[in-house]
């Protein structure tokens, strides 16, 4: 069953795209991550032009995070003040990132940079997660309590000027830190087509020292708005948002997310985290190999 994607300009197998969305949704339901870091590379491996893959993936994440934001709002899990600061940073990052994206596209290095950033980010985070999960599994097995590091923010953040109170996060820190974090994820969203939750959540816990109760809800809140703005930015600058592609991905991902959430309820969280770490590392490894191995296509062509 094939369908023609009007913006990507090629026909794809509907089942493959919906299935891809389903797998990504399954993971996001199981682990609470957006899964954009899987969508974009998989779409590119399937033959979708990178720009279309990045732009449409951002659109899909908007739809996929709606239900999560509502759920977390219902149980007071969103710090709106913190969220708003991060959205402002994210929007600025998205617009600035679009400029960088354009420059890289013109110089022909966009694919290399996307792959490199993926390798570095996913490799680093995958290793950290694997280590953390392995330690907790080891602790669980030996019966010792999990070594917990006290929740406090990074000394660098404490030294920033102009402090605000973030009641729900339980923080009294400078808004510059979450603003910068929002900016960074905004750049990642527009260039890589990821929500950025996999960077934001650890940074909010370990660097800002936010209360874990509001971390996921607030990061979803930021992702919802920033991916929406990113869709607009791509629609206006690269004109690469494919509504049909995003819709097909959404059908798969909202279904997969429901199944994933039920599967997650039956599995131990430590094993879940280890499993996610291995997936993240596998994607990073695949991207690294793609950079180092002689590619099938030495030539690529762009219209002028």
């Amino acid at each position: 069953m094939h369908i023609y994607l009007p913006i990507a300009g090629l026909s794809v197998n509907v089942l493959v795209i919906v299935g891809l969305g389903g797998v990504v949704g399954l993971l996001s339901g199981m682990f609470g991550v957006g899964g954009g870091f899987l969508t974009t590379p998989l779409l590119i491996f399937y033959g979708i032009p990178p720009t279309v893959a990045v732009a449409s993936s951002a659109t899909q994440i908007t739809g996929a995070s709606v239900s999560g934001v509502f759920a977390h709002m219902g149980r007071q899990g969103v710090d709106f003040r913190m969220g708003t600061v991060m959205v402002v940073g994210g929007v600025a990052g998205s617009i600035a990132g679009a400029g960088v994206f354009r420059l890289l596209q013109e110089s022909g290095q966009i694919d290399t940079v996307i792959a490199l950033v993926y390798v570095i980010l996913l490799g680093g985070i995958g290793l950290l997660m694997a280590k953390e999960a392995a330690t907790s599994i080891g602790a669980l097995r030996s019966g010792k309590p999990v070594p917990s590091s006290g929740r406090r923010h990074h000394p660098l953040i404490a030294s920033l000027p102009m402090r605000w109170r973030f009641y729900r996060s339980g923080l009294y820190i400078s808004p510059l830190a979450p603003l910068a974090l929002g900016f960074l994820t905004g750049v990642l969203t527009v260039t890589l087509g990821v929500g950025g939750g996999f960077i934001m959540v650890p940074a909010m816990i370990y660097m800002l020292g936010m209360s874990t109760r509001v971390v996921v809800g607030t990061s979803l809140f930021q992702i919802l708005f920033v991916t929406a703005v990113t869709t607009m930015v791509h629609a206006v600058t690269t004109q690469a948002v494919d509504i049909v592609l995003a819709g097909l991905l959404l059908i798969g991902s909202v279904t997969g997310a429901q199944i994933g959430a039920r599967m997650a309820a039956k599995t131990r969280p430590e094993w879940l985290r280890l499993f996610l770490a291995l997936i993240v590392l596998a994607v990073a490894l695949r991207m690294a190999l793609g950079l180092g191995w002689r590619p099938d296509e030495i030539y690529s062509v762009d219209p002028l």
């Binding site: 023609y4 026909s11 739809g63 996929a64 490199l116 869709t231 607009m232 629609a235 509504i243």
Partner: protein, 257 residues
């Protein structure tokens, strides 16, 4: 204007007849003048067919040959070449070509090399090796040749360039037919289908038919909206995505209860 045209034709008619009297003529047609790309488009097959009219109905002693070429709109393109830098394959050198057809398929009744000499093939741009891509960078000739070969090879593997010999069927030296397949990722625009009649290594007659390939219906609407009203298009994309995500989660919640 039409009246003048009619007079001109009348006045020139004897000349035209005289010109066509000693040379055969081609009457070509195509199976589709318009190919529309709709949601289920997975490529198309175009049938190019027609008849050869000989002066005074005299058949030639030797079998004639037919070459058909389907060519898409030409655009300037930038070709990039990857090279290994610091252990990574990155885009290094590049070359510009001023006119690269987005699609080029050629079919002939016998291998091109046996039909025409190199000069004739170059004049009529017959064959993938004879495309005039107008490289515009001041690169060395050998670099240019390498880039051109790379471009042709890339387009060929994408199914956008094609060269087949022996696929034009000629019946009784009069009727000919050729099938050309068009892949799903074909660029839209104005196409030309050219037919060449070749006898004794010379192009004796040429005929051209125009074909339009365009997106239709919903696909056309989406592609046009994205270009003409990018802001509204983005807004609609966001709203649809939000609505869909919300509706799906509400639906699943109801199902669970």
């Amino acid at each position: 204007m039409t009246r003048l045209g009619a007079w001109l034709i009348l006045a020139l008619a004897p000349l035209l007849l005289a010109a066509s009297a000693d040379k055969p003529r081609l009457v070509p047609d195509v199976s589709q003048r318009e190919i529309s790309i709709a949601y289920s488009f997975t490529g198309a097959e175009l049938l190019l067919f027609g008849a050869i009219l000989y002066p005074d109905g005299r058949m030639p002693d030797k079998a004639p040959d037919i070459v058909v070429v389907l060519k898409g709109p030409s655009d300037p393109m930038l070709l990039r070449e990857k090279a290994k830098v610091l252990g990574m394959w990155v885009n290094a050198e590049s070359a510009r070509f001023r006119s690269v057809p987005g699609f080029y398929a050629i079919a002939s009744s016998r291998p091109l090399k046996t039909l025409v000499d190199e000069r004739t093939a170059a004049i009529y741009e017959l064959g993938l090796a004879n495309l005039q891509l107008s490289p515009s960078s001041g690169a060395l000739p050998e670099d240019q040749a390498r880039f051109q070969a790379g471009l042709v090879d890339l387009m060929r593997r994408r199914g956008l360039f094609d060269e087949q010999s022996g696929s034009v069927e000629i019946t009784d030296r009069v009727l000919y037919r050729a099938r050309l397949s068009i892949p799903a990722r074909v660029p839209v625009g104005a196409y030309t289908a050219e037919t060449f009649l070749i006898q004794n290594g010379r192009v004796v007659a040429v005929a051209v038919r125009d074909i339009v390939i365009d997106k239709s219906g919903f696909e056309r609407f989406v592609a046009n909206s994205a270009q003409r009203w990018p802001f509204s298009y983005g807004l609609v994309a966001v709203l649809l995505s939000l609505l869909f995500g919300w509706a799906a989660s509400a639906g699943f919640q109801r199902m669970r209860r």
